[in-house]
Symmetry: C2
Subunit: 200 residues, 2 copies
């Protein structure tokens, strides 16, 4: 299966031309993005937190303190809605109304699973290091037992997933095309700078 | 008042050294960030969407189609939890456990208000254009009546707001300081490129 199946919740209703359910496309967005936003509700109140994430196949992982309130709510059964968003550009149209942004946005519905298998947990935490810096999991001192206990790893199966993607230039109304107004796209990129070493 | 007052929900519990309630600091984060994530719940299910935002004083604005499902839920009274997150760096420690990220993260709880006053709406939409490009609100063709009707502007009063901020290098355990492992910080920045003009 190369596409995520659409469900009532993940079918993009508005702007459906921008909808995308292709696994390869969506996985690439998940892998490129360094942070996600995880939301749930508890007692009718919304909870929302940013966190870093990583992926292995159809498993999306996040980690954090075992005492994290949002994580506790998720593990007690509250469903998660997770957003992964890359902003790619500002789109300047001739009319105010058609100004827009280029973006790649993924939304995931899933139930959290606590990763309590020691092998999966250890492998997942290595993968986290590798995402941010290839080879790092072999360089740094690995977590000891106490540190492993203080860290929760949570997995979400990628199944109910959709993306919305906008690319390209402004789409102005035909009657605005001759207005003396400049139009174009200003690209936005996330840049990793040179590492500032503390020792070496 | 130079600080947002802490409430039961916005008081940062874990990592409270990183907590920040200073209005100037928080407003600067809101102004620098181009997107926010807005969550709410409807019938016990979480809803979450990325969107661009802007600020005028203690009002945080978002806008979108009048038909947007999340907006409808908010305007029917579901409370919003909004996150604005800037990722500033990857922190490499000597131990896997103390790896971290530098970030500036704001979380807001608020009730949505539909901006139905024509003057406020028009001013707010001008401010949106100005945020992304100074002078643009006077350049582009302004929205006509039909376009204004198709656009909803929603305001959130900034009152129940907190930030969590991490800066600086790795904090390793004393016994790890002599390990032969490099440590440091890799800065992350969001870069606006040159505008690619379609006409001019």
């Amino acid at each position: 299966m190369s596409e995520y199946s659409q469900t009532e919740r993940t079918r993009v209703r508005r702007g459906s031309k921008r909808a995308n359910y292709d696994k390869e496309t969506i996985n690439a967005i998940l892998d490129e993005a360094m942070i996600c936003h995880v939301s749930t509700q508890l007692g009718g109140q919304p909870l929302l937190q940013p966190t870093i994430h990583w992926r292995d196949g159809d498993q999306l992982y996040v980690h954090g303190s075992s005492k994290n309130g949002l994580f506790r709510a998720l593990l007690e059964g509250s469903e998660a809605c997770i957003a992964v968003t890359l902003l790619d550009g500002i789109v300047f149209a001739r009319s105010a109304f058609h100004h827009s942004v280029n973006y790649r946005s993924v939304v995931i519905y899933s139930q959290a699973r606590l990763v309590d298998d020691a092998d999966e947990k250890s492998r997942a935490l290595d993968q986290l290091m590798e995402k941010f810096h290839k080879g790092r999991s072999d360089e740094a001192r690995r977590a000891n037992e106490t540190e492993m206990k203080a860290t929760s790893v949570i997995a979400f199966t990628l199944s109910e997933v959709s993306a919305k993607i906008r690319t390209g230039g402004p789409v102005d109304d035909p009657e605005d095309m001759d207005l003396p107004v400049w139009a174009g796209v200003q690209p936005i990129s996330t840049v990793l700078g040179e590492i500032e070493y503390e020792n070496r």
